[in-house]
């Protein structure tokens, strides 16, 4: 169990951000932090990892205090059992892939964990290469493997997939889910991709201007906001195509395995492009019900 209350005033572009966050994360949970950029999501991860010191609050992990402002406990990042995957990967440029992983080993730790990670993440053919010769997706796999070498109590992922194309993103999501289950990890993912959160997380915190505005299961929080009245159906899908039909547009959306076409006006599709994750809301006024059995 991880409990954290974090308070910090952050200097941001155009003023200050008063961060005030409370998190309760069960062991083995997959939690997502969702919100616009600049809302303070990355700062939360950094405070959990010990890279940023909160002004007030406490962080307790399985009963051990990592941070406690009242008792003046501040564990440095070195003493926190954390795996951190940075947005820009942060691989060590002078080391090969394998060296990046062995560097992470603790004193006296056996290397078989590295062999296992290399196998799961299919890094075998890449292990003697330097990071600057790898693609974004390959670098991200190395960063993920490196973060897991020390068997951390907490895995922190800071928008790890935002720079990748859709196909690579799906593949890496599967890797992350596989590792999360295989090692029974407790994982926190920062993401602004609704589809990704729905697919991966079992709990989501929506962060707006440094505060948690909503939290719960991804489907309940991200899809059915309180402003939408009863009598509607909401589904998340991927935008496949936008086709002009006179004054209207026909929008093709992939809902998991089902492709549907939706009629839309110019204002509806403003700012949308192919590949976006979209929420399809349909009214259920006058639905046709048919008895099947």
């Amino acid at each position: 169990m991880i409990t954290a209350t974090l308070q910090k005033t952050l200097g941001v572009v155009g003023g200050q951000l008063d961060l005030d966050i409370e998190l309760q994360i069960a062991k083995g949970a997959f939690v997502a932090l969702y919100g616009a950029s600049g809302a303070g999501k990355t700062s939360i991860l950094r405070m959990l990892a010990g890279l940023l010191t909160p002004d007030q609050g406490r962080v307790h992990v399985a009963g051990t205090p990592w941070f406690d402002a009242a008792k003046r406990v501040v564990l440095p990042p070195q003493q926190r059992s954390v795996g951190y995957v940075f947005q820009e990967y942060a691989l060590f440029p002078t080391m090969t892939v394998r060296k990046n992983l062995t560097y992470a080993l603790e004193k006296g730790q056996e290397a078989h964990r590295i062999e296992e990670l290399i196998e799961i993440l299919e890094l075998g053919p890449l292990q003697d290469r330097k990071p600057d010769t790898l693609s974004g997706g390959q670098q991200q796999r190395v960063a993920l493997a490196r973060a897991l070498v020390r068997m951390p109590a907490l895995l922190l992922l800071d928008e790890p997939l935002s720079a990748l194309d859709a196909q690579m993103r799906t593949k890496l999501q599967d890797y992350i889910l596989q590792l999360h289950k295989h090692y029974a990890l407790t994982t926190i993912l920062v993401s602004h991709d609704v589809g990704e959160i729905v697919k991966m997380a079992d709990h989501v915190y929506c962060v707006t201007d440094g505060k948690v505005t909503r939290s719960g299961t991804p489907l309940s929080v991200l899809t059915a906001s309180k402003t939408i009245p009863q009598g509607r159906i909401q589904r998340i899908g991927e935008l496949l195509a936008i086709q002009s039909e006179g004054t209207m547009y026909i929008v093709t959306v992939l809902l998991q395995t089902e492709v549907i076409k939706v009629l839309a006006q110019v204002t509806d599709i403003a700012g949308m492009q192919v590949g976006d994750t979209v929420l399809v809301t349909a009214t259920t006024i006058d639905p046709i019900l048919t008895k099947l059995s």
Binding site: G50, Q78, R80, A90, F92, Y103, E106, A147
Partner: protein
């Protein structure tokens, strides 16, 4: 026949100065690149002063500080048995101060340009600041280190004013090549002056060529 002793002395002085500055310069550069202390601009200014200060000014102050009639010089001579004026040891100290920015500035710039996440990734993996510096940060700024080493070496070879002020012209102790040239010209011995000058020109040209071609990635495969 050419007298080799000033050349050997110059090489000895430049090598020793470079090695010492590598030891001193890395901690100073690391501190400057990571600190948020208010005293940072003051330290930066002190380190960079030799870039703009006439060498004679530095030499003049060292002359006074090293003088056996002043506290520091007196103490060193009395209790440590070290004489800094008109000695090779004094020359090394003068050179270290004089070439300090040429070692510190490139390393500081190199460290500052690295993304902060590199060091942070290492900390999160349980590695200390020292381990991070030696295994992650310094290897990542090899070109900057090379620049610092080479510029320090070349700059020490070209030193004249400081040596003149605190070293004088003592064969095998303080008579470096730049002083020897001056000496030979004064004695109207132009042939010797030519030989020394040509040698310095050739050596410094080659050294700078190495720096610029390395930073231009031409020698990347040798270096990586």
């Amino acid at each position: 026949m050419i007298d080799w002793s000033p050349i050997i002395l110059t090489a000895k002085l430049a090598t020793l100065t470079t090695l010492l500055l590598l030891l001193i310069g890395i901690p100073i550069a690391y501190w400057l690149a990571t600190t948020t202390a208010r005293s940072k601009p003051v330290v930066e200014t002190l380190v960079s002063l030799p870039l703009v200060l006439p060498p004679t000014v530095l030499g003049f102050y060292l002359l006074i500080a090293f003088s056996p009639h002043k506290a520091l010089g007196h103490w060193l001579q009395q209790y440590m048995g070290i004489q800094l004026l008109f000695s090779f040891t004094g020359l090394v100290i003068g050179s270290v101060l004089y070439s300090l920015p040429f070692m510190v500035n490139p390393i500081q710039a190199g460290l500052s340009n690295l993304p902060p996440s590199l060091a942070e990734a290492s900390y999160v993996l349980g590695k200390s600041k020292l381990q991070t510096l030696f295994y992650v940060l310094l290897p990542a700024i090899k070109p900057a280190l090379l620049t610092g080493i080479v510029l320090t070496f070349a700059h020490t070879i070209g030193e004249f004013g400081v040596v003149l002020m605190i070293g004088g012209n003592i064969p095998d102790a303080t008579k470096v090549v730049s002083i020897a040239i001056y000496d030979q010209v004064e004695a109207l011995n132009y042939e010797q002056a030519h030989l020394y000058s040509l040698l310095l020109l050739g050596v410094t040209f080659c050294i700078l060529l190495v720096v610029y071609s390395t930073n231009g990635k031409h020698l990347k495969h040798f270096w990586k």
